[in-house]
Symmetry: C2
Subunit: 414 residues, 2 copies
């Protein structure tokens, strides 16, 4: 029995006419059976959240989940009705009804289990089952939600549970691009990308798919396709594991995150265990640090410590940073928010020192100086002045030949 | 442990500011524990129904129930959040979560059971539990709704299950009036009315409370109060069983239903079993007949048969009525839609022939001739010309002294 999982995001079911369009896309699916996962219509979730904020300053998360879960419940009923009207044997299921069990972390719940028996029976009785994304039921019987983008995770979890042949994430973009096409017109759609690269993209703010969904897909080695609801003939981008043959393409894409802050402590006494103390102190406030560097001046027996945090964390972190400065008697604390993190994504970058050298020299050739550098397994990030972000991206995009048509760069095994 | 049940209708929770007001009303409740039942916000149910109608010509009732049930789920979450913000130990429950089991008649489900254990535990853990009205879970695990006004039924069922001390139905009117105050300015609020009278009011179209809720209240001999959300100091109208002392008031109110049609067959052969055949034929089409009369002309050996049906049933009934006329060779079929049914409501009217005589003579004194008459246990209805409806109501209202202050008319036992 061939089974397809199709997930449609909020913009795809924004209004009744789009729901009719989505029903047409489903009707044209070749598979014998379809599992369709939908998000809430348009900005319903934001609207409901705003209502909650008018009732309580910090809304209780259990009540909030009960409230937000209604958004998807509306979508599934309307889509099921539309499919039935087209003569399709369809039925809708809430997360609870299809047997999605989560832990009890309201608003960020993790799927613990999908009842294969329930799913199997539903697929035996109906050709299309329409499932509410983003939600589940905790073991204590409470309605939970998986957090923003959680419908992607629902789709992948269901695809794994029913051993689906395909799992297509329909959205309002054509696929995953080499970089933001709104800023770099040369950006190309990637025909394929691997799990780790997508996870790195999410980590640096270019969220194309919910990270938990990618992790799950990787765990089950499940191929996921990102495609445009309104261009059903486009192939989109396939997300899968590493290809079996040697990769020709080293770099898959470039992501820019302009919401960064560069924090520098000048004149920290050499013997003070500064980095450890700082990271410990920031992590207690849920402030994550991506890049750190330290330079030592043996003449004055001081060091200069520099780190990057998210722009929105600055307010929260500043008080502790000031206290740290005082406690270690550092000379100066400088916070620069006019910075951006430009990240080059590609699995296997960690094996090639050549790439980081290539990045630094391209940028320096154009007088763009890197304030901080991070080299990871699948990502190299540079902190540079915000004003230079687009220029740097364009240079690197061309340097790694991402403007050339990508489809021949990878030999796909799928 | 004193328990109060409070039910708030859609207009009472129409927007966030009204939800805050409702939370204040609840906060002022004297009882130790409160069970609060809420409807969907404002016209949410109509809005959702309209969306469904844009998806399917005749929406599947199972999907429709799943859709409509979200309305109340939104209300309970928002009200619970608002109560929590005021420091009240509150929690929301969907119909399913509080253990309301119904039959599987989607859109008109009947409550089969309320889980006393779940309700008891909820009330032990929380001071206020906010329950979604109008909905339940069928034994096969499907979400069901109880039909329009079903939240009243939820409130009464919960009040019976937790043996509540009071059950107050908060709405946007001051209580139950002797007749429509918009048409007869002399109309008064009834301090109390008995179950049968409210059921008769519902039967003639003046629905103040869902009939199923009244039946349940009668079954459990549970006193229900109808009161205004926006005038919490007003006492409203108490609905209960017959008072122990003899009733002083004979008539409680007068209801007018302008959506009626008067159907007359002239010259029906005397030996044709006309009434039985007609009622049988109409009931098959779900057309109910309230009043029937027959007069015989022995000279021509024919009869004239006259009946009242609802205005909206005319289209549906007309074809069969025409066929009936042909099959029995009646001379004429006349349908008059310019009629109204004026009903005098009062329990024990059936024991007093005097009242119907009194009604007929008052109307005839003013040249208002009754086309059809129905005398029941708690109701006497007259079909009269539509143009005379307000005049007739005013005459009868004064004849039965309903304009006088009602509060002394009944000795309450409550």
């Amino acid at each position: 029995m061939s089974i397809s999982v199709l997930k449609f995001g909020g913009t795809s079911v924004k209004n009744i006419s789009r729901i009719h369009h989505v029903a047409d896309v489903i009707a044209q699916c070749d598979s014998k059976k379809c599992v369709v996962v939908v998000s809430a219509m348009g900005d319903t979730t934001d609207h409901l959240y705003n209502l909650a904020k008018q009732c309580a300053t910090i809304p209780n998360k259990r009540e909030l989940d009960l409230l937000l879960a209604t958004g998807e419940q509306v979508s599934i009923a309307l889509l099921a009705l539309t499919l039935q009207e087209k003569g399709i044997n369809a039925k809708s299921y809430t997360g609870s009804q299809i047997g999605i069990t989560t832990d009890d972390s309201h608003s960020t719940a993790r799927i613990l289990d999908v009842c294969r028996e329930t799913l199997k029976n539903a697929l035996q009785e109906h050709d299309v089952i329409v499932v509410a994304g983003f939600q589940g039921l905790s073991e204590s019987g409470e309605i939970t939600t998986l957090g923003r983008g959680g419908s992607d995770t629902t789709a992948v979890a269901l695809a794994a549970a029913c051993e689906a042949d395909t799992c297509d994430i329909y959205t309002d973009v054509d696929g995953i691009f080499t970089t933001d096409p709104n800023k770099i017109p040369e950006a190309q759609i990637l025909p394929s990308i691997c799990y780790d690269e997508v996870l790195e993209l999410a980590r640096v703010g270019a969220q194309v798919l919910h990270p938990r969904a990618v992790e799950l897909a990787k765990e089950y080695n499940l191929q996921v396709r990102v495609r445009n609801t309104f261009k059903p003939n486009h192939t989109g981008t396939i997300i899968n594991g590493e290809t079996k043959v040697e990769r020709i393409r080293k770099v898959s894409g470039i992501a820019v995150d302009g919401n960064q802050a560069h924090v520098t402590f000048v004149g920290v006494p050499l013997d003070f265990p500064f980095i450890g103390t700082t990271l410990d102190c920031l992590s207690k406030q849920n402030v994550s640090v991506d890049m750190v560097s330290q330079s030592i001046d043996f003449a004055t027996r001081t060091k200069c410590v520099s780190l990057a945090i998210k722009y929105e964390d600055v307010d929260c972190a500043l008080l502790s940073l000031e206290e740290l400065k005082t406690s270690c008697a550092a000379k100066e604390l400088v916070v620069d928010t006019e910075v951006a993190k430009v990240s080059v994504i590609g699995s296997g970058l960690g094996n090639s020192h050549q790439t980081s050298a290539q990045i630094l020299s391209v940028l320096e050739d154009h007088s763009l100086y890197v304030k901080l550098l991070y080299c990871g397994e699948s990502r190299i990030s540079c902190l540079i002045p915000l004003s230079a972000a687009n220029h740097a991206t364009a240079l690197l995009h061309r340097e790694f030949r991402l403007h050339e048509h990508c489809s021949n760069d990878l030999v796909l095994t799928a």
